[in-house]
Symmetry: C3
Subunit: 206 residues, 3 copies
């Protein structure tokens, strides 16, 4: 569990930096940057906890999330010229965050006796809603709805977790299989520019 | 109550299709379409349940909502060339949804011992917030704030429900009167292009 | 406490008018104006209450908020040519609202046994989220992220409140010091156009 906690914090850190970068580009002031970093990093878990009535919610129950976010914002200010959002390190951290958030979301859902399918949705909410809130607050169409197989990676990762959970495999296997699924799918998606099918635009006219 | 449940599912179906159509036009991928359909269909009831602390919230407590939404998205993909969002069938389903969601919202508010006026607000939240969330997620100014007497139909429907409820009329009458109010007002509004008064723009300059 | 309640209502009134003015400029109909006024005035307290699981939430537990908002919208319609959003009276009311909402937010956080730092965040959520929701619903980038030291005034006000609270100073002093901090900082910020530092745009390229 300690390894997961460290990865959770690492993911929070990566998500916070991704939020801080988006906010900086939009010329937000320091306060705005902190808020967007915060929303990006804990927005998913917060939404999940409000929906399943899990109080205290994530960042209220554990102050380490807030400290991590503040450190991430400070790093963004200090090393801004060196942090490229698409760099391999950031991509890795971000993908780790995606995997851990998915796993913790599904797990929390199961702990709250939700139907496995709803628990799976909670895994996606945990990993995806932070970015959606970030994009809504910065007045963009959420990227997640258009780019990469970001969400699909979470969905499949969550399914793998559920499967390994029901077959009562050891926790390290549940964990490794879930993380590996998310990371591999995401890397493949970016490498081969995989996309989900769309409804053709022209069917609806202009 | 069974009739209401069927109409509730029918309304959910119509709202999900309306969400899927908006998302498709904006070129979202399959995942984005499902999320927008989901938010449109259950966003209102979900918001209501979170605000009045009614857990498990609508779609967590009853998986039929999720199945209905998935079927609606599948139908949108399969029959997309045949589903015109302004067609009479869709308009009817959508209006039924509006009426049922209003009624169920007010009813749930009363069951939770809210002041009748707050229960009325909950009726509107249930019927209207789904569309608002859909529009926020697709980065549009919520239509509801500008077009048709959509919300007014819900408000008056909710009032009729409250009145019939306090006079202890039979449930079938409460139900029929509420639905008829919503449906008739909406049809009249569309037919005669009724609009609520606005504050003149020019008063404020540009 | 009665004085605070009156100021709370006054702040609600000012926030509602600010929301109604924004909505009117965007050509919303009466319903849209009421919703935006509502979201602006009680959105902050509502978000806080949902996050800390304080039910019934603000406007459900006390109907006076709703009446105040309806009166504010009526005033906006009736006296629209006389209400300039930047007038000194409106600015004063708005700043009073900011101060009172901050104070009540921190106070409620402490009453719910939150860590003082989280209580401080709740003070900011109470005072700031209403405007953020208003801007998201009207499809603008939230002003708060870009303009004035609006949020900083709340942050410092909240800190002053926490300090006076821990030194167990009399409540009138806690109250006066908090309000004075928020009001003075905001006036100074507007007068001298103070701004928080930004991450330089050009670092990130276009």
């Amino acid at each position: 569990m300690d390894a997961i906690y460290i990865l959770d914090i690492l993911g929070t850190f990566a998500f916070a930096i991704s939020g801080a970068l988006v906010a900086s580009r939009r010329n937000f002031d320091l306060f705005g940057v902190v808020i967007i970093a915060f929303a990006t990093a804990v927005g998913g878990g917060m939404t999940r906890d409000v929906l399943i009535d899990a109080h205290p919610i994530n960042w209220i129950g554990d102050l380490n999330y807030i400290w991590t976010i503040l450190v991430a914002v400070a790093c963004t200010y200090l090393f801004r010229s060196k942090i490229a959002p698409l760099s391999k390190t950031m991509f890795l951290f971000d993908t780790i965050g995606l995997g851990v958030f998915t796993l913790l979301g599904v797990q929390k859902g199961l702990n709250y006796d939700l139907h496995p399918f709803v628990a799976l949705v909670m895994g996606m909410v945990s990993s995806v809603m932070g970015g959606v809130i970030r994009d809504v607050l910065t007045n963009r169409v959420p990227l997640i709805f258009k780019k990469e197989i970001y969400a699909s990676a979470c969905l499949l990762g969550g399914m793998v977790y559920l499967a390994t959970y029901y077959f009562e495999l050891p926790y390290t296997i549940q964990f490794s299989a879930t993380m590996a699924t998310v990371i591999i799918i995401r890397i493949l998606a970016v490498k081969y520019k995989l996309q989900l099918p769309r409804i053709k635009d022209d069917v609806f006219g202009k």
